[in-house]
Symmetry: C2
Subunit: 213 residues, 2 copies
């Protein structure tokens, strides 16, 4: 969805330095994704990242003027890589469930997402707010499209508003990540999302097999 | 659930000063709830709160040693007041929906909740993490109890795991608050939670009236 090249343009130092700048930026993001995955978001102050990378604070700020810019770039890079995952957006709620399963492997990225959500709803983080609002808009539209296709094919009951069911699925997935991260023994996000999948189908076909699941 | 008096004990300056200390603490929380409701969480650094209250930073720290302590106290006070609301915990998902409707009136408190969630899943906020984990545990148990009662009465289909449905409802409610706060025109949290209520009942009684709802 996002073209990484256009971002690089915005931060490229000058004509001619473009390629080197883009490589450097990619290096920083690689390192950041590793750091966030291993140590969580708190390790990602601009200063500690610069230290870890062995570059100056000023050099880092050249590519990422603020901590918000850096966190967003890390998340976007993660999203771009995630979209390479083979099952991306083939079924409506199943997709959310698979995405939750993958995120489970990298709690640091769930922390990053939660931080971006919290920042987005506060004052003082306009870039994060715009990014998250656009992300939700796009995700709701994509998911609603899949839901409508499932409704047309008789796989999801057609008296449910597709946009509302999309909002519900995204919200459930987001909220479950927090509950799971705080209490992995008590909350199994995938199983709970499977419950949501089980209650939306048209007809009663799967209604009786619940006990055997 | 929380007895405010026991908290006051912990921060009361000394024997004899207890009553005055408790009053002072209550005054600070009153003011904070007002500030958070009006201006959001970002206005709640210890220093700006002390300035707004016309007390010294040291005096404020006497009652609330850290920003985490202050934010948690504000949220708990809000919860205590909220529990006075007449409809509290009478029906399973309906309750979440009514709570969402009330929160809608005070975006600052939704911001506060989102901040606590984000802090809780990061390193470095052990008190917030413990509070939020316990809150989810308690809320899941309360809601699962209501769901089991609804299942016994034939109001919710009985092939759904009550704990999982409780997790799902809480997660949906939490996630919807963020989507709604970012895009109130696009997302109506109450309507979406009503969709969840509509798909869990036993039998098909309400399945045909969807269009007229």
């Amino acid at each position: 969805m996002t073209d990484p090249a256009s971002d690089d343009d915005a931060v490229a130092p000058r004509r001619g330095g473009y390629r080197k700048g883009a490589e450097r930026r990619a290096q920083i993001l690689d390192e950041m994704i590793r750091m966030v995955a291993e140590q969580g978001v708190d390790a990602s102050s601009l200063r500690s990242v610069a230290d870890a990378l062995g570059i100056t604070h000023a050099a880092l700020r050249h590519y990422f003027p603020s901590r918000d810019d850096l966190l967003l770039a890390v998340y976007r890079e993660h999203e771009v890589r995630e979209q390479g995952a083979p099952e991306r957006m083939k079924s409506a709620i199943g997709d959310m469930r698979e995405s939750a399963a993958r995120n489970r492997a990298v709690p640091g990225l769930v922390q990053l997402y939660t931080t971006l959500s919290a920042d987005a709803v506060q004052e003082g983080h306009p870039t994060t707010r715009d990014f998250m609002r656009e992300r939700f808009t796009r995700l709701r539209a994509d998911l609603a499209g899949l839901i409508r296709a499932d409704q047309a094919a008789g796989r999801i009951r057609d008296d449910l508003d597709a946009e509302d069911l999309a909002s519900l699925s995204i919200a459930a997935s987001d909220g479950l990540q927090v509950q799971w991260l705080l209490d992995p023994e008590a909350v199994d996000g995938e199983r709970v999302l499977r419950l949501l999948e089980r209650i939306v189908p048209a007809g009663d076909a799967d209604r009786t097999d619940g006990a055997s699941a």
